[in-house]
């Protein structure tokens, strides 16, 4: 060790003073800064994508919550009704009455514009039928002034929202350039205006050529019934399976097999669960297509691994001393688990379940295969039990249906649907976070 030849070579480049950085150290300090900058750039890029995503959702989705309505005060006397009912084209008679009322309101405000019945139909659809149905249902309203809020067609709506402009509009049977003069006149008179789009939130889907009338309400109900199935099945089964694996399972091959299956199922693509649902529930068991029950079953199988994994983590977090204490006073293993471990793990289990449900709520691919896409959900189910078995759509499936339709008017609805879907997910996640914060226990 004292070999003279092993004296250290003079390390000439190393500066004598600590306070003066030598060239090598400076180079290294710069490399350090660069490396750190890569990290910041990576995070900034990630956050930038997040912002772009939300900006495009909000900017394109918020207009879906606005609709353009023509509101006219309309009075129909019993005599007028009888007269209209006696004509051959009854609805035409009603729309003529409506047009007369509209012209009068415009004249009162000193605005003159030419329009015919066809133009009104392009703007508002077949209003005669709407009015006739209203008075058939509410005969008591005859003679009283009634305020009609009639939805403008999707092109007119687009004109208000900037999707359609005078430069880009091409005359078609849907809308003509001259109609826009009428729209402008109605706007000036304050008859046509923007209003909050309640029908979008509460309504059902419409036909492929009527984007304006499409609503997401029915599919929210469909999703609700699916989530009931998922919750009702996956929570008990998931908790039971976790308790078995965490507390009772012997160390053997069968247990290993279950564990391997669970961890692999958690990573199986969701579309494969759709194939399973199609083959087993629909082809083999002949359950009804497009039913929330089937959707719920498929999503249950898909969510189970997630719930089992999080439940096991919560059970594992309960310290063994609690079990020992219960066993020590003579409780059986089963009593120790159900009386002590499970209640202590409950908040964690609940949090995991809500997050699993949120995942299931947004899942689309499996629903494609069991027929929940393509089904036009035109109405609400007839009752509670029918809600499970009657064909319906679900929120993400409805969004996909809209995105796949040809009319651009549906894109706005799809974005709007996303906002509603995300609000549900946000609520569920906030509940999960609050639960975790409130009941989190450090042992």
């Amino acid at each position: 060790m004292t070999d003279a030849s092993m004296q250290s070579p003079e390390t000439g480049h190393r500066s004598v003073s600590l306070t003066v950085a030598d060239a090598h150290t400076k180079k290294r300090a710069n490399a350090e800064k660069r490396f750190r900058a890569y990290g910041i750039v990576a995070i900034a890029t990630g956050l930038f994508f997040l912002i772009v995503l939300f900006a495009s959702i909000l900017s394109q989705g918020i207009p879906a919550f606005q609709r353009t309505v023509v509101s006219v005060d309309f009075t129909l006397s019993a005599a007028q009704r009888d007269e209209a009912e006696s004509t051959l084209f009854k609805t035409k008679a009603y729309s003529n009455l409506f047009i007369a009322q509209l012209s009068k309101e415009l004249e009162d405000q000193g605005i003159s514009v030419d329009f015919d019945e066809a133009a009104i139909e392009r703007l508002l659809g077949k209003i005669g039928g709407t009015i006739r149905t209203y008075y058939a249902d509410n005969p008591g309203k005859l003679g009283d002034p009634v305020k009609f809020d009639l939805a403008a067609s999707s092109r007119v709506d687009g004109y208000f929202k900037g999707r359609v402009s005078r430069d880009t509009l091409q005359d078609s049977r849907f809308l003509q350039l001259s109609d826009l003069d009428l729209v402008d006149a109605l706007k000036q008179a304050g008859i046509i205006k923007q209003a909050f789009n309640w029908p979008f939130i509460t309504g059902a889907d419409s036909g492929v050529d009527n984007p304006g009338g499409a609503g997401i309400g029915a599919s929210v109900i469909g999703s609700f019934f699916m989530m009931l199935v998922v919750l009702g099945l996956s929570l008990p089964i998931g908790v039971a399976a976790s308790i078995y694996l965490e507390e009772f399972a012997p160390q053997n091959r069968f247990t290993d097999l279950i564990e391997v299956n669970i961890s692999n199922l958690a990573a199986v693509p969701s579309i494969v669960f759709g194939i399973l649902g199609l083959a087993v529930f629909i082809q083999f068991m002949h359950l009804p297509q497009s039913a929330p029950l089937v959707g719920g079953l498929v999503l249950t199988l898909m969510t189970l691994p997630t719930i089992i994994i999080s439940t096991r983590a919560s059970l594992k977090a309960v310290p063994p001393s609690i079990r020992d204490a219960a066993l020590g006073v003579g409780a059986s293993k089963m009593q120790a688990v159900f009386h002590h471990v499970l209640p202590l793990a409950a908040p964690g289990i609940l949090t995991g379940t809500i997050i699993g449900l949120a995942q299931a709520l947004g899942e689309t691919a499996p629903l494609l295969l069991i027929g929940m896409v393509g089904f036009v959900a035109r109405g609400y189910p007839d009752g509670f039990l029918a809600g499970f078995t009657e064909p319906n759509s679900a929120m993400p499936a409805q969004i996909y249906t809209w995105a796949a339709r040809a009319d651009v008017g549906f894109y706005e609805k799809a974005w709007g649907g996303i906002i509603i879907l995300l609000m549900f997910l946000l609520t569920m996640n906030i509940i999960a976070i609050i639960l975790r914060r409130r009941f989190e226990r450090r042992w």
Binding site: M1, T2, M6, S8, P9, T11, H13, R14, S15, V16, S17, L18, T19, V20, A21, D22, H24, T25, R28, A29
Partner: protein, 265 residues
């Protein structure tokens, strides 16, 4: 001033290497080190002893600013290495740590080959001009770590495959490869068996000829065996500091005596 210290060192081999004055360390609100002043000599083994939690490791980690990696840790007072304040804003801790190396409680070889473990420091500090020079540094360091004969045939084997004692000597070799001036050792033998401990202790004694060594230990026998100077810490205070022989045979402070005779600790 720099020139002065260098001149002084050549004149007197036992000059002061590290001079700590009124050092305070806080962990958040906890006052972990209270007003510690100590002078550590060159080419000497200085032992820090004391009961667990007395702050001896914390103080050791201040000497090469390893505490910087802990966010809530705050150091006050002056620590001078060769007369320069190591907590000066202009000091790059990276440069400091190259001069003040460290060996840890648990052997922590990198998951690399033995050769790469030792070559790591010289490589990052750019100490070798070419492969031959690097080979030379690695061999020299492994010899100084007293492990060369055991590993010279398997330099490409992973460092994690060695036994505990070999791993710790590898870590010492790794530390000396960067040509440090001071070597800090944080309970280097606590994870080792008695035979490996003896080997490492022998090595520490050899290292004294070249470096200033500071060793933290909870074993009084070890302190007595390897060190020339001993500092006794208790509850964050430096209770007594002096010649090892004097501390163990004729302590001044009653607390030191209680610890040595086994009444506290």
């Amino acid at each position: 001033m720099n020139d002065m210290t260098r001149v002084e060192r050549t004149v007197n081999s036992k000059d002061i290497k590290i001079n700590a004055k009124k050092v305070q360390v806080y962990y958040g609100d906890t006052h972990a080190i209270k007003d510690v002043s100590v002078e550590i000599e060159d080419k000497t083994v200085t032992a820090f002893i004391g009961p667990s939690g007395c702050g001896k490791s914390t103080f050791l980690r201040c000497l090469n600013r390893m505490n910087d990696t802990i966010d809530i840790c705050r150091v006050e007072g002056d620590i001078l290495l060769d007369g320069e304040d190591i907590y000066d804003k202009r000091v790059d801790p990276v440069q400091l740590r190259a001069k003040v190396g460290m060996v840890f409680q648990k052997p922590n070889p990198f998951p690399k080959s033995i050769y790469d473990n030792v070559a790591y420091g010289p490589r990052i500090h750019g100490l070798a001009k070419n492969k031959a020079e690097l080979d030379e540094i690695v061999e020299k360091s492994l010899r100084r770590g007293a492990i060369w004969d055991e590993v010279k045939d398997r330099l490409d084997a992973p460092g994690t495959g060695l036994s505990g004692g070999q791993q710790q000597r590898l870590c010492i070799a790794r530390a000396v490869a960067t040509e440090p001036e001071v070597l800090l050792m944080d309970e280097p033998c606590s994870a080792l068996d008695p035979i490996a401990t003896a080997q490492v202790e022998e090595l520490i004694d050899e290292l004294r000829s070249r470096y200033s060594v500071v060793i933290v230990t909870h074993s009084m026998q070890q302190a007595a065996r390897v060190s020339q100077k001993t500092a006794f810490f208790h509850l964050g205070n430096l209770v007594e500091f002096g010649e090892t022989g004097q501390i163990f045979t004729n302590p001044v402070d009653p607390r030191t005596e209680s610890y040595i005779t086994g009444r506290i600790g």
